[in-house]
Symmetry: C2
């Protein structure tokens, strides 16, 4: 019974993520989510108290998946470079697979304060862990010296942005995008020439 | 007279961009924009017919600035690498300077269809021009072989994402961020090792 209810909740979360993605969080009603999940509205409220709760669990699930990919990478015993590559690839797949993670990961400002705070803390911990990976890579000589905080945000920005342009009906699969993007972003970490040291100069534009 | 009216319109656009940024486009009223621009509501309508028009001109201006930085870079006679670096730096400065470009550049979906189409066309042309820059770099041997479309989107994603995390009161200026980010993103283009060729492999996560 318990297991069946859990499976049902997961199905509902997937359905909610699809509708959020299609119509935008603000324009989605519980009625539409119920229809997508093949439930009556009353039955939907039996599982989730409202849209906020659904968005919260979507985000929580996406973040749990990202954290777990990060832990697997760290435990893999491979080089920091391969760990970083694997984390980026997993992040992109999580953003694009079934188009679920994206809404989940991006619309955090739609949550009420208390729920938002929980998500932001997990997101910060995730960002912090990636940053530590990059610091380790620099310390172990695998990566060129860099501003690890900024580079982490660049990586997450490029990875999150895929949700804005990826089309599942396009030529590249989510996995193709994940691999190519991670390849490019990892390249930027290992190049150790003069270019990796930012020059100070006056603004041009 | 004409010049004074143009200057006034620019001041109003700046004021509108500040309010959009602070309160979000959806939650901003013409009355608030008028207050920020130190005008009466009636006077504001003398210059702009409504919020849509203000958002359109904000976006149009940000894109014009980005296009013009791109043309300056192309005309500079420097290496493709330096042109690319300069374009990325200018893009980030445009996103972060006075916090104007950001709202302008990101909220395109809030525009009515006809206006949105004009902005999307200019944005596509801009993306296409950056892609061409990267293709040139590869053809001329300055950059490693890469998927130019994907790399362009990675660059724009990382650059646009700065608006999500940059705080003007923080340690780094907009220009610091622009230089460091461009340095990292350009590094990824020049590394020519095995890593720049995406490997095909099964998804892990």
């Amino acid at each position: 019974m318990r297991r069946r209810a859990d499976a049902r909740r997961l199905e509902i979360l997937s359905a909610a993520a699809r509708v959020f993605r299609r119509c935008g969080y603000a324009d989605t009603s519980m009625r539409e989510i119920a229809a997508e999940a093949d439930l009556s509205s009353g039955n939907l409220y039996h599982y989730f108290s409202g849209k906020h709760e659904l968005l919260f669990f979507c985000q929580d699930r996406a973040l749990a998946r990202m954290h777990s990919a990060l832990e697997s990478a760290r435990d893999s015993g491979t080089s920091v470079l391969e760990q970083t590559r694997s984390v980026i690839e997993s992040h992109v797949r999580c953003m694009l697979d079934e188009f679920e993670g994206a809404t989940a990961h991006l619309q955090v400002e739609a949550l009420p304060e208390e729920l938002r705070q929980q998500i932001i803390e997990k997101r910060d911990a995730y960002e912090q862990a990636i940053r530590q990976l990059i610091v380790n890579g620099v310390e172990q000589g695998e990566f060129a010296a860099c501003d690890a905080r900024l580079v982490t945000r660049a990586i997450l920005g490029a990875a999150n942005w895929t949700a804005m342009w990826f089309r599942p009906e396009g030529e590249q699969s989510a996995n193709d995008v994940a691999i190519a993007l991670a390849g490019y972003l990892v390249n930027g970490l290992i190049y150790g020439g003069e270019l990796s040291v930012p020059r100070t100069r006056a603004a041009i534009s």
